[in-house]
Amino acid sequence: MLEARLYLLQRASAMLLAPLVLLHLGLILYAIEGGLSAGEILGRTKGSLFWAGFYGLFVLAAALHAPIGLRNILREWTHWRGRSLDLATGGFALLLLALGLRAVWAVTA
């Protein structure tokens, strides 16, 4: 029941992403408006378990959510179907996860 599982995963990750995105946007506004330098930001994120957890969760949810949506869009807009599409979008999920976690590691470790 791949379709039902993907549907559930996409909705669950969306529910998770909604508050995370809002907080992330608020954070950007705060950092920009407050005039924090890159060094000051890194000073707050380095070694912080909270920010590692926050953005780790963000990356995980985005890496689940976006490839499922991309798979749906490709199925509807192109004739691409089947295992090759599943593998390609699965690969895209792994790529997002790897790039995202690398970025989280860079600013929190």
């Binding site: 379709e3 039902a4 179907r81």
Partner: protein
């Protein structure tokens, strides 16, 4: 006395002729009071184009065979009055969208009905004909949900109106999923889990975007979008319970 030939109001009617590679052809049809779109098509066949192919049977909105695209929208033509849909005295009548054209206004309905079978649209009985009938309370919420969807006349108007069917040929479509919804809520059905498994395949209920075109166009007032949303909830609950 006035000359009726000169004063008679005429409709300009474009009708699709041929199969996929066909074209629209224009006919002038006398306007009549309380005239339906099916009356117009019938007039053209009897008076101007004897070879015109189209389907109809009951002419009273029960059989579901006369659906066509009228000015770009799918409609049951026997119950669609010209006065309601003619734009500036013009009508454009084409075969139903999202189905292969056979000839003129007749489409191949096989893909539509095959999807009913794919959605496990047949009833699996819990009793034989030798046993007494199952008592079913009409107040039961599941029965009420099923009742809301059982008056479908299989006209394929919803199927022609659905954008997702147009995009994804494997999508079961609103009518087949509405049928599945009525069975999934039928306590007399012996394999309701089988229905949920059938609609959870690729192209099943999770493919629906909830655009609501089916609801907008259904001639008998069924809400397939609500039924499909119900199937999504039901399949997710079954998935959580490990029954899917």
């Amino acid at each position: 006395m006035q000359d009726t030939a000169e004063t008679e109001e005429m409709l300009e009617v474009e009708i699709w002729r041929g199969a996929e590679d066909g074209a629209l052809r224009t006919y002038r049809v006398p306007r009549r009071e309380s005239q339906t779109v099916l009356d117009v098509v019938t007039w053209v066949q009897r008076n101007a184009e004897p070879a015109l192919a189209y389907r109809f049977a009951c002419r009273v909105g029960m059989c579901g065979s006369c659906a066509m695209q009228v000015n770009g929208k799918p409609r049951w033509t026997c119950r669609t009055h010209v006065a309601k849909v003619a734009e500036g005295g013009k009508l454009r009548i084409e075969p139903l969208a999202n189905l292969p054209k056979i000839k003129d206004l007749a489409t191949d309905m096989a893909p539509f009905f095959e999807k009913w079978a794919e959605a496990r649209g047949r009833h699996e009985p819990t009793r034989t004909r030798h046993e007494p009938m199952a008592p079913v309370s009409p107040e039961n919420p599941a029965r009420a949900a099923a009742n809301a969807g059982i008056e479908c006349i299989n006209c394929a108007v919803c199927y022609a109106a659905c954008d997702v069917v147009g995009w994804d040929g494997s999508y079961l479509g609103p009518a087949a999923l509405n049928r599945a919804w009525t069975l999934a809520n039928d306590e007399r059905d012996a394999d309701r889990c089988g229905v949920l498994r059938a609609v959870s395949q690729s192209g099943g209920c999770h493919t629906c975007h909830s655009h609501g075109s089916c609801v907008e166009h259904c001639p008998v007032g069924i809400n397939p979008t609500a039924g499909i949303a119900g199937l999504k909830r039901m399949t997710l609950a079954a998935l959580m319970r490990g029954e899917l």
